[in-house]
Every structure is written in structure tokens, then in C-alpha cells.
């Protein structure tokens, strides 16, 4: 099984974990991208949203599980065919949540390019934006190295 290990800077990443955990708590009861299916009947919509929420929470738990004892002792996180799909999806959920909660003041151009003057951002926004970029980097790594595993699963 193909596996990639990524060595991260504890000093850089550890402070971002609080941001991810805060977003994870927010996602327990809220979909990252609310369904835009207005014409569904209420009962079916409720079931639909509940199932999406269950799946989202499972994904986010897999993301949080990356940052376990090995991460804090070695600074390493590992991806393989078993967790690539859930982690890449969880990163999307958390990034959407960060946008909704902390980054709504940034333009779409900044969110798409990832480029802005960090020093000019308020601390909470700067931290959330760094987390947003960090999760995008994880997604890019996974897609670049494990896309075939995801698509074939």
C-alpha cells in the first residue's frame, strides 16, 4: 500500500491545531456546505442533512486522529489509501468552516490565491488563514500522491 509521511514543524503546526479543533466542534452540528436543495420535502431533507452530518463528523475525526502521539513525538503525519479520502474531505470541511467563521472579511481572490499580507491581518484571522493554507497543502499532497487510491476506493 502506498503511504506518504510528512514531517511537519511542531512549532508551526501545533498552534494551528487549536483552530482545527475549534472548527471541528463547530462542525459537529453544522454542515460545512449547507445543502442547496430547497425543493426537497422536509422529512427527506432532514434525513439527508443528518446523514451528511454523520459522514462529515466521521471525516473530521479522521483528520484530528492524524495529530496523535506520533505527531507530537516525531512531527510526522502519515497518509495511505485507508485515510486519504476521509482526510482530504475533512480538510475541505474545515476550510469551509474557517471561511464562514473567521475569513469572511477576505475577498474571494485572496481565498482562491492564498496570497495576502499576513502581517496586516488581525491575529485571529491570521491564525485561521494560516490553518486554511496548511489544510490546503495537506490536500494537495494527498491528491498529488494518493489520488488514484481515492478514485479507485
Amino acid at each position: 500500500m502506498k503511504r506518504i509521511e510528512v514531517r511537519l514543524s511542531l512549532a508551526v503546526v501545533a498552534p494551528l491545531l487549536d483552530v482545527i479543533k475549534e472548527a471541528a466542534v463547530g462542525l459537529e452540528q453544522t454542515l460545512a456546505a449547507p445543502p442547496a436543495l430547497q425543493d426537497l420535502e422536509a422529512e427527506f431533507r432532514t434525513v439527508w442533512e443528518g446523514e451528511l452530518l454523520d459522514a462529515q463528523n466521521e471525516d473530521v475525526r479522521a483528520l484530528l486522529a492524524l495529530f496523535d502521539g506520533e505527531f507530537f513525538s516525531e512531527g510526522v503525519v502519515a497518509f495511505d489509501a485507508d485515510n486519504a479520502e476521509t482526510v482530504v474531505r475533512a480538510c475541505a470541511a474545515v476550510r469551509l468552516r474557517l471561511r464562514a467563521r473567521h475569513l469572511s472579511g477576505l475577498t474571494e481572490e485572496v481565498l482562491e490565491s492564498g496570497e495576502t499580507e499576513l502581517a496586516k491581518l488581525p491575529e485571529a484571522v491570521r491564525k485561521a488563514f494560516m490553518c486554511y493554507l496548511f489544510l490546503a497543502t495537506l490536500q494537495e499532497l494527498i491528491i498529488q500522491h494518493l489520488e488514484s487510491s481515492i478514485i479507485e476506493s
Binding site: 454542515l31 456546505a33 436543495l37 466521521e58 482530504v88 475541505a92 476550510r95 469551509l96 481515492i150 478514485i151
Partner: protein, 100 residues
């Protein structure tokens, strides 16, 4: 429907008058500034079975025009695709296809 750890390809079954499900429906993906282009391409390949070229074409259509019709057909299957795309955190809507 249990969704733990695996992507579902269909939402829960519902019962509804047959007439409400009749006709052709479109699955439309809307743009968002958060999801990466590479991620959207991967999701289109994974969920809709597109090849790389087709997935990139639809991704660019979403990016440049704000929306792309990624599938059309019967309502029940359109719902299944919309559900799965939403599971991947893309914004997907259904539209009645008036051309049929």
C-alpha cells in the same frame, strides 16, 4: 443509511408520487472560492466517473462561469449524485431540465 468512512452513492430512499420524480433533472455544481481546483477535479473523477479532460473542463466552467451542469437524467439518480457531491462539500443543486 450508514456513511462511516466511505462515500455513499445514493441518499436514503424516499417514497413520493411518481409524477414528482418524472422528467429530466440537472445536477449543477456552483462555484465556491474555498475548494481547490485539483480537489474539484478529483471529486468529479471520483463521483461522476469523468476522465481528467472532462473533469478539468467542468471544473473550469464552475470556476469561470460560476456553475456547471455535470449530469442530467432521472430525478432519483440526480439526487444521488447531488448527495454525494455534497458529501464532498461541493455545492450541488438540482434543476428541472425544461428542454426535455
Amino acid at each position: 443509511m450508514a456513511l462511516f468512512g466511505k462515500t455513499q452513492t445514493s441518499p436514503a430512499v424516499r417514497t413520493e408520487p411518481e409524477t414528482a420524480l418524472a422528467g429530466q433533472w440537472r445536477v449543477v455544481v456552483l462555484n465556491d472560492p474555498v475548494n481547490l481546483m485539483s480537489y474539484v477535479v478529483m471529486v468529479f473523477k471520483k463521483v461522476l466517473g469523468f476522465d481528467e479532460t472532462r473533469a478539468r473542463r467542468h471544473m473550469l466552467e464552475v470556476h469561470e462561469q460560476g456553475r456547471s451542469v455535470v449530469w442530467s437524467g432521472l430525478r432519483e439518480k440526480a439526487e444521488a449524485y447531488a448527495f454525494t457531491l455534497q458529501q464532498w462539500h461541493l455545492t450541488a443543486i438540482l434543476e428541472a431540465d425544461e428542454t426535455h
